[in-house]
C-alpha cells in the first residue's frame, strides 16, 4: 500500500510538471515582432516588475561571477541537483541493504 502511495505521488508530481508545458501556449509575437518568451524564470519577471513600479531604480550591485552562458548555468544547477540526489541515493541504498541484512539475520537461526 505504502509503495503504491509513493508511486502515485511521484506520478502526480510528473503530471504537475508536464501539464503546464502542454497547457500554456506560446502567444503570437507582439506588435514589435519580437517572440514572446514563455517559461522564463519568475525571479526575472519580478526584476522586470521592479522596473515598471520604480522605473528610476538602478541595481547598485552586480553579481561577482556570472555563468558565461546558459549552458554553464545549467551545468552548475545540474551539479547542485546531482550532489543532493547522489546523497539521497546513497542513504536509500545503504538503508535498504541494512534493513535486508537485519531481517536476514533475524530469520536465520544463529549457530
Amino acid at each position: 500500500m505504502k509503495r503504491h502511495q509513493n508511486l502515485l505521488m511521484m506520478i502526480a508530481v510528473v503530471v504537475l510538471v508536464a501539464l503546464p508545458l502542454w497547457m500554456v501556449k506560446k502567444p503570437a509575437p507582439g506588435p514589435d515582432g519580437k517572440d514572446v518568451q514563455i517559461f522564463a524564470g519568475a525571479d526575472d519577471k519580478a526584476k522586470d516588475l521592479v522596473g515598471t513600479i520604480v522605473p528610476a531604480y538602478k541595481p547598485w550591485f552586480k553579481p561577482l561571477i556570472e555563468p558565461p552562458s546558459g549552458e554553464i548555468g545549467s551545468l552548475l544547477f545540474a551539479l547542485q541537483a546531482a550532489l543532493g540526489a547522489g546523497f539521497i541515493g546513497y542513504w536509500y541504498g545503504s538503508s535498504k541493504t541494512r534493513a535486508q541484512m537485519r531481517s536476514k539475520t533475524e530469520k536465520e537461526p544463529r549457530c
Binding site: K2, Q5, N6, M9, M10, A12, V13, L16, V17, L19, P20, L21, M23, V24, I38, F39, A40, G41, A42, D43, D44, K45, A46, K47, L49, V50, I53, V54, Y57, P59, W60, F61, K62, P63, L64, I65, E66, P67, G73, L76, F77, A78, Q80, A81, L83, G84, A85, G86, F87, I88, W91, Y92, S95, K96, R98, A99
Partner: protein, 225 residues
C-alpha cells in the same frame, strides 16, 4: 524566490541581513549540539540538506507560463526543527549567489529570511498544529511542506513590495503585483514539494523509525502498529 543581486535598496539589504544573521548563527549552534549528542542523526541531517539541494535546483514550469523552483526546507524543519534549516538554506543560497548569479550577496539576508527562516518555521508550526488536531500523518507532512513552500514566496513578494511600494497604491498594490508573479506560479510547485516530502518521509519511516521516534516526528506506537 530569489531576489536578484542589487535589487533591494541598500537599507533593506542591510536590514534583512542583520535580521537573518542571528537565525543562521543559532541554527549552527543547534546543529552542532545535536550532532555531538546524537551522532547517528548525521545521516538524516545530510538527507535533509540534500533534499534542499535537489529541490532548489529544479526549476519547474508552472501554469502561469513561468518557471520557479521549490525550496525543500519543509522536510528538514519537520525533522530537526526550524532553526537547523537556516544555515542549510543559507549554504544553498550562497552557492547559487556566488556561482550562478542566481539571487545575490546583497540580497542574501532577505532570501535567507524567506526561504530558510519563514518557510521552515511555518512548516514546523503547521506540522505540530496538524498533529495536535489529529490530521493523518502523511497529510500533515504534505500540508506543512507545501504551505512552507508557498509562504516562502509570499514572504519574497512582501519583501519586494516593502522595498518598492506602488506610487499610487502603496504596499498593498505592489504586493498584489509581486504575489501574482511569485505566489500564483508557486501553487502547483508547492503541491509537488508537498508530495515529494511525503515520499521521502515514507522512506524515512521505513528505514529510520528509531531516529524519527527519538526526534518525536512519529509516535512510538505508530511504528508498532
Amino acid at each position: 524566490m530569489h531576489i536578484m543581486e542589487g535589487f533591494l535598496p541598500v537599507k533593506h539589504a542591510i536590514g534583512w541581513s542583520v535580521a537573518a544573521a542571528p537565525f543562521v548563527i543559532y541554527g549552527l549552534y543547534t546543529i552542532n549540539k545535536r550532532i555531538k549528542e546524537k551522532p547517528e542523526q548525521r545521516m538524516l541531517l545530510g538527507v535533509a540538506a540534500a533534499f534542499t539541494f535537489v529541490l532548489s535546483a529544479l526549476k519547474m514550469p508552472s501554469v502561469t507560463g513561468s518557471c520557479s523552483h521549490p525550496t525543500g526546507t519543509g522536510l528538514g524543519a519537520i525533522l530537526f526543527g526550524p532553526a537547523a534549516m537556516a544555515p542549510i538554506g543559507a549554504v544553498v543560497l550562497l552557492f547559487q549567489a556566488i556561482l550562478l548569479a542566481h539571487g545575490g550577496l546583497t540580497t542574501l539576508g532577505a532570501n535567507v529570511i524567506s526561504m530558510a527562516v519563514v518557510g521552515p518555521f511555518a512548516a514546523a508550526a503547521i506540522f505540530r498544529a496538524a498533529k495536535a488536531v489529529k490530521v493523518p500523518f502523511a497529510f500533515s507532512i504534505f500540508l506543512a511542506a507545501s504551505c512552507a513552500d508557498l509562504l516562502t514566496y509570499i514572504t519574497t513578494s512582501a519583501q519586494l513590495a516593502f522595498a518598492f511600494p506602488d506610487p499610487a497604491g502603496g504596499f498593498a498594490a505592489s504586493f498584489t503585483k509581486f504575489a501574482s508573479v511569485f505566489a500564483l506560479t508557486q501553487i502547483p510547485l508547492a503541491i509537488s514539494e508537498g508530495l515529494l516530502t511525503v515520499v521521502v518521509i515514507n522512506a524515512l519511516v521505513r528505514f529510520n523509525s528509531p531516529e524519527l521516534q527519538e526526534m518525536k516526528v512519529i509516535a512510538v506506537q505508530e511504528v508498532q502498529a
